[in-house]
């Protein structure tokens, strides 16, 4: 596969690893946060932790939109499916996320009309094909995905569709990164920036991290070669005492971002004053809601959404793992009560969640280490 295989080439990777081995300072410990869940997944999937120098520690960040979705929001979305005339649509990632009454798959087994879609456009098509039903799309995702939702809403408007709505849980990455940076127990030396979010936002939004916090940020692609090169670039900055934003993913990410996508976002969405992030608490200006102009497509206005807060189960330490303070095996529930088959916390549900990735891919997952 073009643009994939070349970046998984074992020889090329070995070469860059060699260079990384030469560059790393053996007397130093590096803590690098990879913000995006896609990077977490890729790191585990390609066994990168085996081949990176041992003094480079990768900390998994909060860039997993399923992981940061509070249970209360899941419940809100699922109650929309309670209506007999509603078809609730969502991505595959959502189907096994536990709400208080069960997962979408379990509710579907009990008779709710919940359908998995690959694209929000598929949800719109279902709405057009079922004029007597109300079709609601449970939208999740960061800036990578939000523009697609925005265009779908504009398309629905253009075609005069009146039975389609979106339950928006889109969140933005920068406020979460800021929350991590402001966290007293954080100690991160540099960031691997989210490659696909940046294909929309560009690289400028991260400049404050370099400027105000003095940390390098390298926006990276998702293939093993990309991730390793990005780590190398961070190390070079650290050794030179620099803190800049760099773009490793130049074949995809334009420095100024994707203008049509940003325009679509601005047209359809506005920032919520605040939004709850599971494990991180309430963060201001961190999530997207539909503008009032699009009220006819806004599930929160069309349906009675309870908006209840549901606290995390006792013992679940999702927040600390999300912030990189704890490693997955250090959570008391890891591997015992909380595992991919019966996830307690959202970090175990999503295959890119730090806990699920660690459990499923890491050889040492089953040996739960002693408490720190």
């Amino acid at each position: 596969m073009k643009y994939v295989d070349e970046f998984r080439d074992p020889e090329l990777i070995s070469g860059v690893l060699r260079e990384l081995g030469r560059t790393v300072d053996p007397a130093r410990r590096y803590r690098i946060m990879e913000v995006c869940g896609g990077h977490t997944h890729s790191i585990y999937r390609h066994g990168l932790r085996d081949v990176l120098p041992a003094n480079i520690e990768l900390v998994h960040g909060p860039g997993c939109p399923v992981c940061v979705l509070p249970t209360g929001r899941v419940d809100d979305g699922l109650t929309i499916a309670d209506h007999d005339d509603v078809i609730l649509t969502c991505f595959g990632d959502m189907m096994r996320v536990p709400g208080t009454r069960g997962t979408p798959l379990e509710l579907k087994a009990r008779g709710a009309d919940i359908r998995m879609v690959y694209s929000p456009l598929d949800a719109l098509r279902i709405a057009i094909e079922h004029p007597a039903k109300r079709v609601c799309f449970f939208a999740i995702g960061f800036e990578t995905t939000a523009p697609s939702t925005a265009l779908t809403i504009l398309r629905a408007q253009a075609e005069g569709v009146t039975n389609f709505s979106v339950f928006s849980n889109h969140v933005t990455i920068v406020p979460a990164m800021r929350a991590i940076l402001d966290s007293p127990d954080m100690r991160i030396d540099g960031f691997v920036g989210p490659g696909h979010v940046s294909s929309i936002t560009g690289c400028r939004p991260y400049e404050f991290i370099a400027r105000d916090y003095g940390k390098p940020v390298v926006v990276a692609g998702f293939e093993p070669l990309d991730i390793i090169e990005a780590i190398l670039m961070i190390l070079r900055q650290l050794h030179a005492g620099e803190a800049r934003v760099e773009n490793q993913y130049k074949r995809i990410v334009p420095w100024d971002g994707n203008l049509p996508a940003l325009r679509a976002l601005a047209r359809v969405f506005e920032l919520r004053p605040y939004f709850e992030w599971r494990g991180l608490g309430f963060i201001s200006q961190s999530a997207l809601a539909l503008k009032s102009e699009f009220a006819g497509f806004d599930a929160e206005r069309l349906f009675d959404v309870a908006g209840l807060r549901v606290t995390d189960p006792r013992g679940a330490q999702c927040g600390e793992v999300l912030k990189g303070v704890l490693k997955p095996p250090q959570c008391k529930l890891f591997g015992t009560e909380c595992n991919p088959e019966h996830p307690v916390g959202a970090l175990m549900v999503s295959s890119e969640g730090a806990c699920a990735a660690h459990y499923r891919y890491s050889l040492h997952a089953q040996e739960v280490p002693a408490a720190p």
Partner: protein
């Protein structure tokens, strides 16, 4: 959020100007190109696909550039390892000693 895959545009829809047919390793799907600037992509171009939309045109020159640079880096690193393996530095120091 992050799963996006490169695909090649094989055709544009005749009826819908914002839809294109994209090929990913032999699998084809109709993809919305409305997030790209008008005229930015043509048949044969490669794009990044996510949830049925093209997010970005892939810059082939940048990709080749990067691969070329990384290849050179890897070869340099290998050459350096070999040089260190020949222990030129120590041999030179030893030769200096003898000359003194």
């Amino acid at each position: 959020m992050c799963l996006a895959i490169p695909g090649q545009i094989v055709a544009f829809s005749a009826e819908l100007p914002f839809m294109a047919r994209v090929d990913v390793g032999g699998v084809q799907r109709n993809v919305n190109v409305g997030l790209l600037e008008e005229g930015e992509v043509k048949t044969g171009d490669w794009v990044l696909i996510h949830v049925g939309f093209a997010l970005s045109k892939i810059d082939e020159a940048e990709a080749q550039n990067q691969l070329r640079m990384l290849r050179a880096m890897g070869e340099d690193a290998l050459a350096l390892e070999e040089v260190l393996g020949y222990r030129f530095a120590e041999t030179a120091a030893g030769a200096d000693e003898i000359r003194r």
